[in-house]
């Protein structure tokens, strides 16, 4: 670990000023400290933003508004979150471990870095960590890696669970920076790796995530998050699905689907959603629609099973939204 300084800021303005000058912001630290210990991250100056008044969880009209510094555990346990968007709570509980959830913030969760083992080993080739050094995962262990949105430069999945749900629900985020404030879809935060995998998100220099807003409405209330993995807890998703349906008069009026564990970013599945509209929800309909999820999927040497597991996970997640145990 390299030596570093840490200072505390007490206002959003001070945080923006610090971030603009190239200092790194730290909230829960569950990703950053871990990576600093391995010297994958080497910031010299940290700015602790935990004192900023950004932890509130509230309902604004029917929208759920989550402060960027709200802890995963607090959001998951919040009665309004459980009432309005149970799938947000579900995807948070399925993530990490209780100790990590007590520390990690929502803003930090969205910005967490990939779990590719080669990214975390300084002596392995990794374009994300060290541009143009190559990608060790392509010819190595890649059973957990992506089949969607990959490039020759990077095949790592985005690790967040709750981001998958937020993308499914058209959640937006408000950020503030030196040039003012802007609001955009959470989905737009994430970049594809392309030939610049070291660039992971679309925040501008000095920008700070302030809050995440999840639109209300009937679709979210019956959404479910299904995470499939070999261990029951504390493992990243092999495949996950955030699925929600709005059914009226026995017909699907609205559908939402995003998947995790398979994409280089949380992956919205609009083709699958469209295929469900106007249909009567049943397993055959779900299976037909889920096949569309594989469009453009490119398996690696060790993750071909995801071509089978992805549509099955989608089908199962939609079944769960209908209360099929």
């Amino acid at each position: 670990m390299l030596p570093f300084t840490i200072e505390k800021v007490r206002s959003v303005e001070a945080a923006i000023a610090a971030a603009s000058s190239g200092r790194r912001l730290i909230a829960g630290g569950t990703t950053l400290i871990d990576l600093m210990r391995d010297e994958v991250e080497q910031p010299q100056q940290l700015v602790d933003i935990n004192a900023l008044p950004l932890s509130e969880i509230r309902v604004d009209r029917s929208d759920l508004v989550i402060g960027a510094l709200a802890r995963m555990a607090d959001v998951a346990a919040h009665p309004d979150v459980q009432r309005l968007h149970p799938m947000v709570a579900e995807s948070l509980i399925e993530g990490a471990s209780p100790q990590l959830r007590n520390m990690a913030s929502i803003g930090g969760n969205l910005l967490q870095r990939v779990r590719c083992p080669y990214f975390r080993m300084l002596d392995a080739a990794c374009n994300k960590r060290s541009p143009l050094s190559g990608c060790a995962a392509l010819g190595g262990l890649n059973a957990g890696h992506a089949i969607l949105g990959t490039s020759d430069h990077c095949v790592a999945t985005h690790p967040s669970d709750v981001a998958v749900t937020l993308v499914a629900l058209d959640a937006t985020m408000r950020v503030v920076g030196p040039k003012g404030e802007r609001t955009f879809l959470v989905e737009e935060l994430f970049r594809l790796p392309g030939d610049t995998p070291h660039l992971e998100h679309t925040l501008l220099p000095g920008e700070l995530i302030v809050e995440v807003r999840v639109p209300g409405g009937p679709v979210g209330r019956r959404g479910r998050y299904l995470k499939v993995r070999d261990r029951a807890s504390y493992e990243f998703a092999l495949v996950s699905a955030a699925a929600a349906l709005d059914v009226a008069d026995g017909v699907i009026r609205g559908a939402r689907l995003a998947v995790g564990g398979v994409g280089t970013r949380p992956w919205r599945m609009r083709a699958v959603e469209s295929a469900l509209i106007g249909k009567v929800p049943d397993r055959k309909v779900f299976e037909a629609a889920a096949r569309l999820a594989l469009e453009g999927a490119l398996p690696l040497s060790g993750n071909r099973y995801k071509l089978e597991l992805l549509p099955r996970t989608i089908v199962r997640a939609f079944e769960m939204t209908g209360g099929i145990a």
Binding site: M1, L2, P3, E39, S97, R115, P117, Y118, R120, M121, L122, D123, A124, A136, G139, G140, L141, A143, L226, V228, R229, D230, R231, A232, S233, Y234, E235, F236, L238, V239, Y305, E308, L309, R312, T313, V315, R316, A325
Partner: protein, 703 residues
């Protein structure tokens, strides 16, 4: 006066110390003026170190020394081998030459005033290599099996080849056959406590506070490596935070801590990182095994062939009892076993809980289940039809054998009668339910040990032996033996272990601590009791006594523990997740000294078995031999949410031959049998036979 203390479910006598933090582990013995050492590990899998920029590092703040093969002292590395070291080959000589034999081998050690300075400098040290491509796949095209040197003699403890009858001919002539290959992944022990050593020299005397399951051997090994008289080295280790075999041998980091402390002339602390625990501290070797069974139409075994290979390093031949159980578990006139090693570019493997028996029994017990299906027999019935009267491999009677009683007891507690044999025939809602069963067995070992007991005038007693307690409850069970033998309440017995200057104990592994250490303590306490009976005295009464197994009994009898393991799993047919809902084990282990600790041992072993069956594997990158998933988030072991209901039961078993305590030992057997029971349950649930461990979602997805 006798009090029945042995057999009581006493709570751990050291439990309070452990939960309050009063128990001190190796890394807790900080010494005044102590410096910190960090190992720099090779980043290539084979080759040579060609350069090292230590000059740049030596200028960094707080750096006291950078030791590598370029400047490290040439150590004596005198001859020393214990039974826990491979019989053939020579241990790694650390920092003695430029050769890299495996990924992660230590190439330097950095010593600094603070841990942060040492870590920083170790990360900054630039090492250049002439790298070659290692061979790490022991089942790949470049694998070259060898006959283990120590197994060449027919009377070897682990014979490479052993046969009775003509198994191959009998197999060819058998009306019903199973002939399959089983593959078990390499695993790492991953105890919670990392390896740690604090080394402190006083002239030419060395004290090591070091995590060890065998303090007297660590003493002897370090004395041999440094060319010191045995009595100049003291090893202290009162508590161990889990080990599972990884601390049986003395690994290079202990040598490096002592070397560093000698060089900087102050005490040095060295703790391995989690990642480094995948490099130089042993692992369960990957094994590939062929089992062929032949049987008559009514289920009588006519042939058993067991051919197994295990990986080892290029410089030592690590052997384990991979094929042993096959020679006596069932009655069969024609049995042939073959054991080979495949040297690859890796560190030397070592015993991991249940060791070779767990791996070998996995293959045999899966094959027995496959045979039961071919014969349309209940798997327990198949085993009953082949229950032997004697150990047919050794041609002598068992001192005791309760396998079928274990099946009866286990089946009753588990509810085996409710099982319908057809695959995919049992469901719980959407979920496929599978029930599987397997036998377990582990030898009832007994090694020589010596203990000292002292009865004080105040009516309390002290008992000392250089044993270890890695978690099974040695402190408690030995206190019970001493208290009962001396006729004292347990509160008046102070039992100490974990110092090499106490009377010698064998290694704390192989489930022989209770038999060996317990018998020595009993002998010492009897000697004290007899002395005390001669009359009152104001002086302490002290006695030192040794014990070993009655050689005549050892000659006459085959001594093993047996068990029957039952598992119920649920498989999600849509997404392939596998959950172990229940496990029930029934064991015949002789006398149970403390039922509470014994159950704890069994459930712990079951958790390990669930890991072996469904999660654990160390993945090596074929390009450079790197353990890719050397991280607790990536090397999967069960967490609390994976563990539902575990039960252990013990059959009444009086065995007067094993030792005077009548104990066979417990620990290893608790892991044996779990993995095959789970694999058999997976078949029952899904109809798919998975013969490679761990069994993962991707294996059952298309069932």
């Amino acid at each position: 006066m006798t009090m029945a203390i042995i057999g009581r479910p006493l709570a751990r006598v050291d439990g309070r110390a452990k939960v309050t933090g009063a128990a001190r582990y190796a890394a807790d013995f900080n010494q005044p003026g102590q410096a910190y050492a960090v190992i720099v590990s090779a980043t290539v899998g084979l080759g040579r170190v060609t350069g090292m920029d230590s000059a740049a590092i030596e200028k960094m703040p707080g750096i006291l020394a950078v030791l590598s093969h370029l400047n490290a002292p040439r150590l004596a590395y005198g001859q020393h081998k214990s039974y826990i070291d491979p019989a053939t080959g020579e241990r790694l000589h650390v920092l003695q030459d430029e050769r890299i034999r495996f990924h992660g081998q230590p190439v330097a050690v950095v010593v600094a005033t603070t841990i942060a300075q040492a870590e920083r400098a170790a990360a900054a040290l630039r090492v250049s290599y002439n790298a070659e491509r290692p061979v790490v796949d022991s089942a790949g095209p470049e694998a070259r099996p060898i006959v283990p040197e120590a197994g060449r003699q027919p009377d070897a403890r682990l014979p490479a080849d052993k046969a009775r009858g003509d198994a191959d001919r009998a197999l060819a002539e058998s009306p019903v056959k199973v002939d399959e290959t089983y593959d078990i992944a390499r695993e790492n022990h991953n105890p919670m406590e990392p390896h740690a050593t604090i080394a402190s020299w006083n002239g030419d005397r060395l004290t090591l506070w070091s995590k060890s399951q065998f303090v007297v051997n660590e003493q002897a090994e370090i004395a041999a490596i440094f060319g010191l008289p045995l009595e100049n080295v003291t090893v202290i280790c009162p508590f161990i935070g889990g080990a599972f075999g990884t601390s049986l041998r003395t690994w290079p980091h202990v040598t490096l801590a002592a070397m560093a402390a000698q060089h900087v002339r102050r005490p040095v602390k060295l703790v391995l990182t989690r990642k480094q625990m995948f490099f130089t501290t042993g692992h369960r070797p990957r094994t590939v095994q062929r089992i062929a069974l032949g049987a008559t139409a009514d289920g009588k075994l006519t042939s058993v062939v067991h051919e197994g290979t295990g990986e080892t390093s290029r410089y030592e031949e690590f052997m384990e009892a991979l094929t042993s159980v096959t020679t006596f578990l069932y009655s069969c006139p024609n049995v042939r076993t073959r054991y080979r090693l495949v040297p690859v570019d890796t560190g030397t493997p070592n015993h991991m809980r249940g060791p070779g028996e767990a791996s070998g029994v996995f293959a045999l017990e899966c094959a027995m289940d496959e045979l039961a299906y071919k014969l349309r027999l209940d798997p327990i019935d198949l085993r009953r039809r082949n229950e032997p009267a004697i150990d047919e491999g050794e041609n002598k009677p068992f001192s005791s054998r309760s396998l079928m009683r274990c099946y009866d007891l286990g089946a009753e507690h588990f509810g085996w009668a409710r099982r319908t044999p057809e695959p995919r025939s049992m469901r719980d809602g959407r979920l496929l339910v599978g029930m599987g069963v397997a036998s377990a067995s582990y030898p009832a070992f007994h090694a020589p040990a010596t203990a000292r007991a002292r009865l004080l005038p105040d009516g309390t007693a002290e008992v000392e032996i250089a044993a270890s307690d890695m978690g099974p409850g040695t402190y408690t069970s030995m206190t019970q033996v001493a208290a009962e033998t001396l006729g004292l309440p347990v509160e008046r017995v102070r039992f100490s272990l974990g110092r090499s200057d106490y009377p010698p104990a064998p290694s704390h592994g192989g489930s022989w601590t209770m038999a060996s250490v317990g018998s020595a303590i009993r002998a010492a306490c009897i000697a004290v009791r007899e002395e005390a009976a001669k009359g009152r005295t104001d002086r302490p009464i002290e006695a030192t006594a040794s014990s070993q197994r009655d050689p005549q009994a050892a000659e006459r009898f085959s001594m093993h523990s047996f068990g029957a393991v039952f598992v119920e799993i649920a498989v999600d047919p849509d997404v392939g997740t596998i959950r172990v809902r229940r496990a029930v084990g029934a064991y015949g282990i002789g006398r149970v000294v403390n039922p509470r600790l014994a159950r704890s041992q069994c459930t712990g072993g079951m958790v390990g078995g669930i890991g072996m069956a469904l999660m654990e594997r160390t993945v090596l990158d074929a390009r450079d031999g790197r353990p890719v998933n050397a991280h607790m988030a990536d090397y999967l072991m069960p967490v609390n949410l994976d563990i539902l209901q575990l039960e252990a039961h013990f059959v009444e078993e009086a065995d007067p031959h094993v030792n005077q305590l009548g104990v066979k030992g417990l620990g290893e057997i608790a892991l044996v049998g779990i993995a095959p029971a789970i694999a058999n349950a997976v078949f029952h649930a899904t109809g798919k036979r998975v013969r490679a461990l761990p069994i993962r979602i991707e294996d059952v997805l298309t069932a």
